[in-house]
């Protein structure tokens, strides 16, 4: 491998580039990024950046010197439009073709949007530009409606409420984040939000957006209208694979890869866009979390160079909501049994364990980071016991 192209210049793509160099790769690296920004960190977009405690400069994943030290060619603000897998070329908007003999696909996800044209004041939150626009609008103390009560919507609701806005969290589900962590934890999250003054509107079916030039509200099934000057649409994501259509790659759920993050010979994928076979869980996963992006970027790069290591990480996510620090390792599938072990010494602190057929699959800490580290150790042992395929 002499010429590597990495499409996607965020956490996963950057980790891939850095790992290639750390492994001694001295060929060419070309980084293609649709956004005009140098690699930056996304978790703070709904946390520190949104609350105003950080400015955008702090999001940079690397300083200028570290970026220069990579010795990569950077094509930022340019979208890849096609992959010619047989001819080994990536096609950029404008028609330029980048030849490669190693490719890392790290194009991530797009925020899912509501269908149709939207009035001003209806936002999604994926990029720093999205976040800065929302933050500027929050300064006017709008009434906020968040559509979607998954991790992002729930966390944003907490941040907006913390800034003093009236906030309504309207989700399809009965409880926020219940799809991720089950009803017991969902109920505790709901309670914490209610205590803080967030209005919860569960089982909400959104029919449309009210308002002409600017949003005026969110119309629900049954005729109810939730008034709003700012709406965040947080209804999930779509893998950014449009540019790969017709390439011959399997795009059933993002870029479909094997256990080595390989989509085709010489073509690997990493980060949110990647579906791969997790040899520890013996299940196909696609994970949209920050730590996975970095770990998988590194793994994809090593395997591109021939390491032949199955990628079997312990997934990790965290969310900050009011005074609650939620952290989870592993998986919480719907069929899992969740048990909660309260810390007898500290009210409101607990660790939750998710088991599938008696085997530990995931652990979650609620303001319980040290206890969670021990629980993670049990999880690592449990996963290493899973028999390997073949």
């Amino acid at each position: 491998v002499r010429r590597v192209v990495i499409v996607g210049a965020s956490a996963a793509g950057l980790a891939a580039a850095e790992t290639l160099r750390a492994e001694g790769f001295d060929g060419t690296i070309t980084m293609v990024g649709e956004e005009r920004h140098a690699p930056y960190d996304r978790p703070p977009l709904s946390k520190q950046l949104m609350s105003g405690s950080w400015e955008a400069e702090r999001l940079a994943l690397r300083d200028r010197g570290a970026i220069d030290a990579l010795g990569a060619a950077w094509r930022l603000g340019v979208r890849a439009t096609a992959l010619d897998a047989a001819g080994r070329e990536v096609v950029l908007k404008g028609g330029e073709r980048l030849p490669f003999d190693g490719l890392v696909i790290a194009t991530g996800i797009h925020a899912r949007r509501l269908p149709g044209a939207m009035p001003a004041g209806v936002h999604v939150l994926r990029t720093v530009d999205d976040a800065l626009a929302i933050r500027a609008a929050l300064a006017a103390q709008p009434r906020v409606v968040v559509i979607g009560s998954g991790v992002l919507g729930t966390e944003f609701a907490a941040t907006a409420r913390g800034l003093g806005c009236e906030v309504t969290l309207a989700g399809k589900a009965a409880l926020p984040m219940a799809r991720q962590f089950g009803p017991d934890i969902g109920k505790m999250i709901a309670d914490r939000h209610r205590e803080a003054g967030v209005v919860l509107r569960p089982r909400a079916e959104v029919l449309g957006i009210e308002g002409e030039a600017h949003v005026a509200g969110v119309r629900l099934a049954g005729g109810e209208i939730l008034p709003a000057e700012l709406v965040l649409v947080a209804i999930g994501s779509v893998p950014a694979t449009g540019w790969l259509e017709g390439s011959g790659l399997d795009l059933a759920d993002g870029v479909v890869c094997d256990a080595y993050c390989r989509a085709a010979p010489g073509i690997h994928a990493a980060g949110d866009v990647t579906s791969w076979w997790h040899a520890g869980y013996r299940r196909r996963l696609r994970i949209e979390h920050r730590m996975n992006a970095a770990e998988q970027g590194a793994a994809a790069a090593r395997n591109l160079l021939g390491a032949g290591e199955a990628f079997r990480p312990i997934p990790f996510l965290w969310s900050d909501q009011f005074d609650v620090k939620l952290q989870a390792y592993g998986l919480f599938p719907p069929e899992g049994d969740i048990t909660i072990e309260l810390d007898p010494a500290v009210p409101g602190r607990f660790v939750a364990f998710c088991r599938v057929e008696g085997r530990l699959w995931g652990v979650l800490g609620w303001n319980a980071v040290r206890a969670l580290r021990q629980a993670r150790q049990h999880l690592a042992e449990s996963l290493s016991e899973v028999p390997q395929p073949g």
Partner: protein, 64 residues
């Protein structure tokens, strides 16, 4: 080497403690990183680099 941490970036994931247990610890109440050894011996450099790679909040730097 000199290890530098940014407490307000730390998300308390504990990856650094697992990677370099003689260099990092976590506060009991909120899991925020504690720097046990600001100038660890050179043979800890690989562990510290691993902690930097694993930290999901990019809260650790090292000057060699």
């Amino acid at each position: 080497m000199r290890v530098i941490i940014e407490e307000d970036k730390c998300c308390g994931a504990g990856q650094c403690v697992m990677a370099a247990p003689t260099v990092f610890d976590q506060r009991e109440e909120d899991g925020i990183v504690i720097l046990l050894d600001e100038t660890p011996p050179d043979d800890k450099l690989d562990e510290v680099k691993q902690a930097i790679r694993l930290c999901p909040a990019l809260a650790i730097k090292v000057e060699v």
